[in-house]
């Protein structure tokens, strides 16, 4: 932040890492859950992330993204979710039958709607 107090005085304030659950906006996850209720069934096994080609080459975990969305940590997900190539291998391994590809698809849609004030 140019010209801020921290610049002048040579120190910075670290942003807290805590997930402030109550302050976070759940509009994106609510949109996804409404259209793809199977996401409720996720038990965080990580099978989707293990099989994911994107995840094998870059820092991308659908399991983690799913939790971040549920906690309303949208800023972290916004860019990351664009990495997915929608190949759908994750659907094949999911033990709870979550339509994981549709979750990614809906998340992208939700962010678009969010930006257009449609959520």
């Amino acid at each position: 932040m140019a010209g801020s107090a921290s610049d002048k005085f040579g120190f910075t304030v670290s942003k807290a890492r805590v997930i402030d659950y109550d302050a976070n906006d759940k509009a994106v996850i609510n949109y996804i859950l409404e259209k793809e209720p199977s996401l409720r069934l996720c038990i965080e096994c990580g099978g989707c992330s293990a099989t994911c080609t994107t995840g094998n080459f870059t820092r991308f975990s659908l399991r983690e993204i799913h939790i971040l969305l549920k906690r309303g940590e949208n800023a972290q997900v916004r860019e990351k979710i664009k990495k997915c190539m929608l190949c759908g291998k994750c659907i094949l391994v999911c033990p709870r039958g979550v339509n994981t590809r549709n979750v990614v698809f809906l998340a992208r849609q939700a962010f678009q709607k969010y930006d257009n004030n449609e959520l």
Binding site: V18, I19, D22, R40, L41, E64, I67, K70
Partner: protein, 343 residues
């Protein structure tokens, strides 16, 4: 078949075993410290996994002990027993003497006293309750907070007094996970506007139909499961609970406000059982429960000839397992009195 058996502890295990032994022709004395038999089963609103009502279980158990061969003594503690020759002599605190050819201990468990985990604020903050308190609330059909409001945001904390070296209990109490799932569903059902968050370390859904119940809680009841143990509870200026946990699956701390927190209290060897074990020289395990003579083939036998165990005085068990364990104890005792024991 003739012979007599004294059973110490009139809960699920004691009542079931009494019924089995009585029907085999043995004369049974069932001794219970409380004014009524029934044990912990009396406190349940609904059981898992099928939501059978606790009163139905109680009725079944009372039917079991309604037999001419059973003498029920209530409101009577046992401090000690002695073996004189082939006979056990048990003295109750009211000075009654009971004689029997075999002895079955069904002294059960005590619920972990959650106030020992001070960081969770039980008995400090009004809206921190235990799983047993919640069953009470369900039975009384009153889920209001002390201020009269209906809770909207409710947390459930697993492993309170279980898998916890700090409370001296390294073992898993086994029932609390599924109890949390059942209670979460019932909360959502009774308070449709509520949101429920379950904070767990592992979801241990090993019993029959438990995993199915867990799935149903997610799918139909929208219960939120967060992997991470709450480290501490405080209250904010609005007297709302504030919890701290790590959301371990994303590796970040999490802060949340709640209207109510339910602590899933674990099971401990009962103090009554400990007193009897130590005075009689019965072996106990590191977890303080009675140690069976053989974990595979003799889970109802003790280190003393003629003394048997059944139910949650040997390990955490649900009602189904307790009933099975009581039946196997009865089979062991029948065999012991029929063939094994030399008069």
């Amino acid at each position: 078949m003739t012979g007599s058996v004294a059973i110490i502890g009139g809960g699920t295990a004691g009542m079931e075993a009494a019924g089995q032994l009585a029907r085999a022709g043995l004369s049974v004395t069932l001794i219970e410290k409380e004014p009524e038999a029934g044990g912990h089963a009396r406190n349940w609103y609904h059981l898992f996994p099928d939501r059978r009502s606790g009163s139905e279980v109680l009725k079944y158990l009372n039917d079991q002990i309604d037999h001419e061969n059973i003498k029920l003594i209530t409101g009577s503690r046992i401090e000690n027993f002695q073996k004189k020759g082939n006979e056990f002599v048990i003295e109750t605190e009211n000075g009654q003497e009971v004689k029997a050819d075999a002895l079955l201990l069904t002294t059960g468990f005590d619920l972990f006293r959650s106030e020992r985990k001070e960081e969770y604020g039980y008995h400090i903050y009004d809206n921190v309750i235990t799983s047993a308190d919640l069953e009470d609330k369900f039975r009384n059909n009153d889920l209001r907070l002390l201020n009269g409001k209906i809770p909207e945001k409710i947390g459930l904390l697993h492993c309170v007094g279980s898998r916890d070296e700090k409370s001296g209990n390294v073992y898993c109490s086994k029932l609390c996970c599924v109890t949390a799932v059942k209670q979460a569903m019932e909360l959502r059902e009774k308070l449709p506007g509520s949101r429920v968050y379950s904070f767990y370390m592992d979801m241990r859904m090993g019993g029959a139909l438990y995993e199915e119940l867990y799935r149903e809680a997610q799918e139909k009841y929208g219960v939120n499961f967060i992997r991470g143990k709450i480290s501490e509870v405080s209250v904010n200026i609005d007297n709302r609970l504030v919890i701290k946990a790590e959301d371990t699956l994303v590796g970040r701390p999490l802060r949340m406000e709640l209207d109510m927190l339910v602590l899933m209290a674990g099971m401990e060897m009962s103090q009554a059982g400990i007193r009897i074990a130590d005075s009689a020289g019965l072996t106990r395990g590191e977890n303080r429960f009675f140690a069976p003579a053989d974990h595979h083939f003799g889970s109802n036998r003790s280190n003393l000839k003629g003394v048997f165990f059944a139910g949650t005085c040997t390990a955490p068990m649900n009602i189904t397992e307790t009933i099975s364990h009581a039946r196997s104890a009865a089979a062991d005792i029948i065999k012991y009195l029929g063939n094994g024991r030399k008069r």
